[in-house]
Symmetry: C2
Subunit: 105 residues, 2 copies
Protein backbone atom coordinates (compact mmCIF):
# COMPACT_ATOMS: atom_id res chain seq x y z
CA UNK A 1 0.00 0.00 0.00
CA UNK A 2 1.54 3.24 -1.16
CA UNK A 3 0.35 6.82 -1.26
CA UNK A 4 1.45 9.58 -3.59
CA UNK A 5 0.93 13.07 -2.29
CA UNK A 6 2.93 14.57 -5.16
CA UNK A 7 0.53 15.45 -7.97
CA UNK A 8 3.32 15.26 -10.55
CA UNK A 9 4.15 11.71 -9.55
CA UNK A 10 0.45 10.89 -9.57
CA UNK A 11 0.13 12.17 -13.13
CA UNK A 12 3.18 10.27 -14.34
CA UNK A 13 1.80 7.16 -12.68
CA UNK A 14 -1.14 7.36 -15.07
CA UNK A 15 0.42 8.56 -18.33
CA UNK A 16 3.92 7.17 -17.89
CA UNK A 17 5.30 4.08 -19.50
CA UNK A 18 6.50 3.37 -22.97
CA UNK A 19 3.22 3.37 -24.89
CA UNK A 20 0.50 5.24 -23.01
CA UNK A 21 1.39 8.73 -24.25
CA UNK A 22 1.20 7.62 -27.87
CA UNK A 23 -2.04 5.74 -27.32
CA UNK A 24 -3.62 8.76 -25.66
CA UNK A 25 -2.30 11.07 -28.34
CA UNK A 26 -3.77 8.97 -31.13
CA UNK A 27 -7.12 8.91 -29.35
CA UNK A 28 -7.09 12.70 -28.95
CA UNK A 29 -8.23 12.91 -32.57
CA UNK A 30 -11.32 10.83 -31.86
CA UNK A 31 -12.66 7.31 -31.34
CA UNK A 32 -10.56 4.52 -32.82
CA UNK A 33 -10.94 0.79 -33.31
CA UNK A 34 -8.40 -1.62 -31.90
CA UNK A 35 -6.97 -2.32 -35.33
CA UNK A 36 -6.70 1.37 -36.18
CA UNK A 37 -4.70 1.94 -33.01
CA UNK A 38 -2.37 -0.92 -33.88
CA UNK A 39 -1.77 0.56 -37.32
CA UNK A 40 -0.97 4.02 -36.00
CA UNK A 41 1.37 2.71 -33.32
CA UNK A 42 4.15 0.83 -35.08
CA UNK A 43 5.92 -2.04 -33.38
CA UNK A 44 3.51 -2.44 -30.50
CA UNK A 45 2.37 -6.01 -29.98
CA UNK A 46 -1.33 -6.77 -29.64
CA UNK A 47 -0.76 -8.15 -26.20
CA UNK A 48 0.88 -4.99 -24.89
CA UNK A 49 -1.64 -2.76 -26.65
CA UNK A 50 -4.45 -4.68 -24.96
CA UNK A 51 -2.79 -4.44 -21.56
CA UNK A 52 -2.17 -0.71 -21.82
CA UNK A 53 -5.72 -0.05 -23.01
CA UNK A 54 -7.13 -2.00 -20.07
CA UNK A 55 -5.03 0.02 -17.63
CA UNK A 56 -6.09 3.31 -19.18
CA UNK A 57 -9.69 2.14 -18.99
CA UNK A 58 -9.48 1.21 -15.31
CA UNK A 59 -7.85 4.59 -14.66
CA UNK A 60 -10.90 6.23 -16.18
CA UNK A 61 -9.09 7.82 -19.10
CA UNK A 62 -10.93 5.99 -21.86
CA UNK A 63 -14.00 3.89 -22.52
CA UNK A 64 -14.07 0.54 -24.27
CA UNK A 65 -17.17 -0.17 -26.34
CA UNK A 66 -17.69 -3.66 -27.71
CA UNK A 67 -20.19 -4.38 -30.49
CA UNK A 68 -21.65 -7.87 -30.78
CA UNK A 69 -21.07 -8.24 -34.48
CA UNK A 70 -19.26 -10.60 -36.75
CA UNK A 71 -16.54 -9.78 -37.36
CA UNK A 72 -16.17 -8.17 -33.93
CA UNK A 73 -15.71 -4.45 -33.49
CA UNK A 74 -14.25 -2.71 -30.44
CA UNK A 75 -13.90 1.04 -30.14
CA UNK A 76 -11.94 3.15 -27.72
CA UNK A 77 -12.91 6.70 -26.80
CA UNK A 78 -11.31 9.18 -24.41
CA UNK A 79 -13.34 10.27 -21.40
CA UNK A 80 -13.42 13.97 -20.47
CA UNK A 81 -10.72 13.15 -17.92
CA UNK A 82 -8.61 11.66 -20.69
CA UNK A 83 -9.19 14.60 -23.00
CA UNK A 84 -8.22 16.98 -20.22
CA UNK A 85 -4.67 15.66 -20.53
CA UNK A 86 -4.34 17.74 -23.68
CA UNK A 87 -2.71 20.65 -21.86
CA UNK A 88 -0.16 18.36 -20.27
CA UNK A 89 0.83 16.79 -23.58
CA UNK A 90 0.94 20.18 -25.22
CA UNK A 91 3.39 21.49 -22.65
CA UNK A 92 5.57 18.39 -23.02
CA UNK A 93 5.49 18.72 -26.79
CA UNK A 94 6.64 22.34 -26.56
CA UNK A 95 9.54 21.42 -24.31
CA UNK A 96 10.43 18.44 -26.47
CA UNK A 97 10.47 20.55 -29.61
CA UNK A 98 12.62 23.22 -28.03
CA UNK A 99 15.11 20.87 -26.47
CA UNK A 100 15.02 17.51 -28.20
CA UNK A 101 14.14 17.90 -31.81
CA UNK A 102 15.24 14.31 -32.34
CA UNK A 103 16.43 12.02 -29.61
CA UNK A 104 18.71 9.22 -30.67
CA UNK A 105 19.13 6.24 -28.37
Amino acid sequence: MEFYDCPVTATLEVIGGKWKPIILYVLMSGTKRFGALAVRIPNISRKVLTEQLRELESDGLLIRRKYKEIPPRVEYTLTPEGKSLWDVFNEMAIWGNNNRRIVKK
Copy 2:
Protein backbone atom coordinates in the same frame (compact mmCIF):
# COMPACT_ATOMS: atom_id res chain seq x y z
CA MET B 1 19.50 2.42 -32.59
CA GLU B 2 16.14 4.07 -32.14
CA PHE B 3 14.73 7.44 -33.11
CA TYR B 4 11.92 9.37 -31.48
CA ASP B 5 10.19 11.86 -33.68
CA CYS B 6 7.42 12.41 -31.14
CA PRO B 7 8.38 15.32 -28.89
CA VAL B 8 6.14 14.04 -26.10
CA THR B 9 7.90 10.70 -26.06
CA ALA B 10 11.23 12.51 -26.20
CA THR B 11 10.30 14.55 -23.14
CA LEU B 12 9.10 11.54 -21.18
CA GLU B 13 12.29 9.74 -22.13
CA VAL B 14 14.16 12.40 -20.18
CA ILE B 15 11.93 13.11 -17.18
CA GLY B 16 10.19 9.74 -16.89
CA GLY B 17 10.99 7.04 -14.42
CA LYS B 18 10.24 6.66 -10.77
CA TRP B 19 12.58 9.24 -9.26
CA LYS B 20 13.58 11.85 -11.84
CA PRO B 21 10.55 14.11 -11.40
CA ILE B 22 11.11 14.33 -7.65
CA ILE B 23 14.83 14.94 -8.07
CA LEU B 24 14.20 17.72 -10.57
CA TYR B 25 11.48 19.20 -8.43
CA VAL B 26 13.74 19.35 -5.37
CA LEU B 27 16.46 21.01 -7.43
CA MET B 28 14.02 23.62 -8.75
CA SER B 29 14.45 25.42 -5.42
CA GLY B 30 18.20 25.72 -5.91
CA THR B 31 21.54 23.92 -5.68
CA LYS B 32 21.63 20.93 -3.36
CA ARG B 33 24.29 18.59 -2.02
CA PHE B 34 24.07 14.85 -2.53
CA GLY B 35 23.18 14.31 1.11
CA ALA B 36 20.51 17.01 1.07
CA LEU B 37 18.87 15.35 -1.93
CA ALA B 38 18.89 11.99 -0.17
CA VAL B 39 17.20 13.53 2.87
CA ARG B 40 14.46 15.19 0.85
CA ILE B 41 13.74 12.05 -1.17
CA PRO B 42 12.72 9.36 1.29
CA ASN B 43 13.38 5.71 0.52
CA ILE B 44 15.67 6.25 -2.43
CA SER B 45 18.88 4.25 -2.21
CA ARG B 46 22.23 5.98 -2.72
CA LYS B 47 22.95 3.80 -5.71
CA VAL B 48 19.76 4.71 -7.52
CA LEU B 49 20.10 8.37 -6.61
CA THR B 50 23.60 8.38 -8.07
CA GLU B 51 22.47 6.63 -11.25
CA GLN B 52 19.57 8.98 -11.84
CA LEU B 53 21.73 12.05 -11.22
CA ARG B 54 24.29 10.82 -13.73
CA GLU B 55 21.60 10.30 -16.35
CA LEU B 56 20.14 13.74 -15.76
CA GLU B 57 23.66 15.15 -16.02
CA SER B 58 24.40 13.43 -19.32
CA ASP B 59 21.04 14.66 -20.61
CA GLY B 60 22.17 18.19 -19.85
CA LEU B 61 19.51 18.91 -17.23
CA LEU B 62 21.87 19.47 -14.32
CA ILE B 63 25.51 20.08 -13.49
CA ARG B 64 27.57 18.15 -10.99
CA ARG B 65 30.19 20.12 -9.13
CA LYS B 66 32.75 18.28 -7.02
CA TYR B 67 34.87 20.06 -4.43
CA LYS B 68 38.18 18.52 -3.46
CA GLU B 69 37.68 18.81 0.26
CA ILE B 70 37.68 16.47 3.19
CA PRO B 71 35.02 15.50 3.87
CA PRO B 72 33.99 15.58 0.20
CA ARG B 73 31.28 17.85 -1.07
CA VAL B 74 29.29 17.43 -4.26
CA GLU B 75 26.65 19.84 -5.43
CA TYR B 76 23.98 19.52 -8.09
CA THR B 77 22.49 22.48 -9.94
CA LEU B 78 19.88 22.64 -12.68
CA THR B 79 20.96 23.99 -16.05
CA PRO B 80 18.71 26.48 -17.86
CA GLU B 81 17.42 23.51 -19.84
CA GLY B 82 16.54 21.76 -16.61
CA LYS B 83 14.88 24.85 -15.17
CA SER B 84 12.84 25.22 -18.34
CA LEU B 85 10.98 22.05 -17.36
CA TRP B 86 9.11 24.11 -14.81
CA ASP B 87 6.16 24.69 -17.13
CA VAL B 88 5.86 20.98 -17.84
CA PHE B 89 5.82 20.05 -14.18
CA ASN B 90 3.38 22.83 -13.45
CA GLU B 91 0.92 21.51 -16.02
CA MET B 92 1.25 17.98 -14.69
CA ALA B 93 0.72 19.21 -11.14
CA ILE B 94 -2.47 21.01 -12.17
CA TRP B 95 -3.84 17.89 -13.82
CA GLY B 96 -2.79 15.72 -10.89
CA ASN B 97 -4.51 18.01 -8.43
CA ASN B 98 -7.71 18.15 -10.43
CA ASN B 99 -7.94 14.45 -11.14
CA ARG B 100 -5.89 12.46 -8.65
CA ARG B 101 -5.86 14.23 -5.35
CA ILE B 102 -4.41 11.07 -3.84
CA VAL B 103 -3.54 7.95 -5.78
CA LYS B 104 -3.57 4.73 -3.84
CA LYS B 105 -1.64 1.77 -5.16
